[in-house]
């Protein structure tokens, strides 16, 4: 039944497959060694569909996502433990790979071997010249101070800070991500950013504890309009604000009844 054309095609397919399997057999062997080459191989398989082979964030999947993948070529990272405008630490990058980012397409790769995760970090650092720029170092890591207790008084003070610092202009008076500036918020690349609905726990990307919210107020989100407040707010005010923001998606959801018209 099989024709000569079919036989020829089958033989060609088998040869192609054999060559492919041979090439994979000669690839890295899965040891515990951390290396850029290994990171590149893992990146090519697990990260490239979104972040692109060259790391510019325009992988084949990126066009169909509302939250765009990070452009590693820019060396600008939102979620860090370092001061505003600085590069992330290796641990910051590893933490994102390991934990993922909620409410985005970035999953947790906690099941990936730790050597592979570290190797991907090493490879990502080769995608931007910023990481090899000696003037970027040493990195100034933000220290998390002693937390202000999570109390009703602190939450109430945090609400005042929220209103006075105009957080509502993006996040809304009711913190539902619907402030008057929300439709026009963009990142440095011009991609629209939807301000987080702080009352939805499931919408919050990283700030899922008061400590992590405090860290965001301290570091800012590089490449976005979200600034660092270390020079503007006292440490206590940042903790109060963190407690208030945390409360919005947990327990009290304190709201003082102020309307947008009261703010103008």
């Amino acid at each position: 039944m099989t024709t000569n054309i079919q036989k020829t095609t089958l033989v060609t397919m088998i040869i192609f497959l054999t060559v492919g399997l041979y090439s994979c057999a000669t690839s890295y062997n899965g040891s515990d060694e951390v290396s850029v080459a290994r990171g590149q191989a893992v990146y090519h398989e697990a990260c490239a569909p979104c972040h692109g082979d060259n790391g510019d964030g325009s992988g084949p999947v990126s066009v169909s996502l509302t939250t765009k993948p990070r452009d590693f070529n820019l060396g600008v990272f939102k979620f860090r433990s370092t001061a505003s405008g600085e590069l992330p630490t290796d641990y910051d990058l590893l933490r994102i790979i390991n934990s993922g980012i909620y409410h985005t397409a970035m999953p947790s790769f906690a099941q990936m071997s730790i050597a592979d995760q570290y190797s991907v970090v090493e490879y990502i650092k080769t995608l931007s010249p910023a990481f090899s720029d000696s003037t970027q170092y040493p990195l100034d890591t933000v220290k998390i101070s002693t937390p202000v207790p999570y109390t009703y008084d602190s939450i109430e003070r945090g609400r005042e800070v929220y209103l006075n610092m105009h957080c509502w202009s993006c996040h809304g008076i009711t913190a539902e991500g619907n402030g008057p500036s929300a439709p026009t918020v963009t990142d440095d690349q011009g991609n629209h950013i939807q301000p987080t609905n702080l009352t939805h726990f499931w919408d919050i990307k990283v700030g899922r504890t008061p400590e992590k919210v405090y860290l965001i107020f301290s570091t800012g989100l590089n490449g976005t309009p979200m600034p660092s407040y270390t020079q503007i707010l006292t440490d206590k005010q940042r903790w109060d604000l963190a407690n208030y923001v945390y409360s919005l998606s947990h327990t009290s959801r304190y709201y003082d009844g102020k309307q947008l018209s009261d703010m103008k």
Partner: protein, 403 residues
């Protein structure tokens, strides 16, 4: 009461409105999205169409690429279980001409769809499973559960962990070719080439079948070579492989052109099936498929497949069919709005029977797991030997809810 497309439109509009209201209150997400805390669009351009990441996830035993999980599902939170519900309203207008006599028929129906149950995940390191079990709704209090696909997968046999170069699976499942039957965006019209079954046998290339496969993904070959080599016992299983078996080989190469994926697949499916007492049919299905995204906007997804089918004993004679399809999916608003269309065609050489089918549709997602669609499909089935020409127009409005 006379059924009209307008009545269907009105009723479906109400259904869509209901789903829209429901979607705003919905926080539920299906199985894998829930497990990995990501949106459905992580793996789907638009459900159920898999994107490049989704195919890598699928071929790695329903685990993230680069990972090889060891935690069994019974130790995981949340439970690896999801349901999909997709009712629709269908208005069918059929014009049949037989020997010069024309008959017209109009029907309006509600397709309740039942409920598809999915469970999948890790059993142990290098070992995972997938199970799809539709639960049909036959009447008040009457349900008919069945198992559509059920497979066990041994992952990463070549190592290292998370590199799905060589895997093995067995069970009842769909063979993987470039455009699997169950990942089409078109809901109301089947792929004509996949439905071609002149012998009415059990060797059907696109249907779930009892099989054992070696398969894998080789990211080292350009932007990924996918392959599967399978031995199938057909959709029913249980028959002697001597009487009823097919070999399947598929290769699919992906290359990113300016970050727009271009896929080229070739496949062969051939064997022997019993179609009566001491009567067998030797068949072969062979074809190629192409998927290309435009490299400029990356929002236009063009698909094409061509198949040649031969059977040596259809009523005692050889029969050959050539057919295929050409499709286009357009992403209007990411994660929200899509329009699509497809043209299917088949022609049987010996009988001159021709089928041509045009389908167009639009889909809107209220949430990643809740969508609604409207489709219009036209099928022209011309069978000169039987002096019959049938033209069928289907208007379909439906919703899909996964939770």
């Amino acid at each position: 009461m006379k059924a009209t497309p307008y009545r269907a439109l009105f009723m479906a509009g109400l259904a869509i409105l209901f789903v829209g209201i429901f979607a705003n209150q919905s926080e539920a997400i299906p199985l894998f999205a829930r497990k990995y805390h990501v949106s459905c669009f992580r793996c789907h351009t638009v459900p159920p169409v898999l994107n490049d990441f989704g195919r890598r996830f699928q071929i790695n035993g329903y685990q993230l690429p680069g990972t090889d999980e060891s935690e069994p599902i019974w130790a995981q939170e949340p439970l690896s279980l999801s349901f999909v519900f997709y009712p629709s309203f269908v208005s069918a207008h059929t014009v049949t001409t037989t020997g010069g006599v024309t008959q017209t028929n109009d029907e309006l129906s509600f397709e309740p769809s039942g409920l598809d149950l999915f469970t999948a995940g890790t059993i142990a390191k290098h070992l995972s499973y997938f199970l799809a079990a539709p639960i049909g709704i036959d009447g008040p209090g009457q349900f008919s559960p069945s198992i559509e696909t059920m497979s066990i997968m041994f992952n990463n046999l070549l190592g290292p962990d998370g590199q799905s170069n060589l895997n093995f699976r067995f069970g009842r499942y769909r063979l993987w070719n470039t455009f699997p039957d169950n990942t089409s965006l078109v809901e109301s019209a089947d792929y004509l080439i996949y439905d071609y079954d002149p012998a009415q046998g059990s060797l059907l290339i696109a249907e779930p079948q009892w099989a054992a496969s070696v398969y894998g993904f080789l990211p080292q070959v350009m932007d990924g070579l996918r392959y599967e080599l399978a031995l199938s016992d057909g959709t029913d299983g249980g028959a002697s492989l001597k009487d009823n078996s097919a070999t399947f080989l598929m290769l699919e190469q992906t290359e990113y052109i300016d970050n727009a994926p271009f896929r080229l697949g070739v496949y062969y499916y051939g064997g022997k099936q019993m179609v009566g007492v001491n009567t067998s049919d030797n068949l072969a299905r062979m074809g190629f498929a192409v998927e290309a995204n435009d490299p400029w906007t990356k929002r236009f997804d063009l698909s094409f497949q061509y198949m040649n089918a031969t059977d040596d004993n259809i009523g005692g004679v050889k029969q050959t069919m050539n057919g295929g399809f050409l499709g286009l999916n357009v992403l209007i608003v990411p994660e929200k709005l899509f329009v699509y269309g497809r043209y299917d065609f088949t022609k049987v050489t010996e009988t001159s029977e021709k089928q041509n089918q045009w389908t167009g549709g639009v889909r809107y997602h209220f949430a990643p797991n809740v969508g609604a669609y409207a489709e219009l499909s036209f099928l022209d089935d011309n069978a000169p030997a039987a002096l019959t020409d049938t033209k069928t127009t289907l208007s379909t409005l439906g919703v899909m809810v996964g939770f």
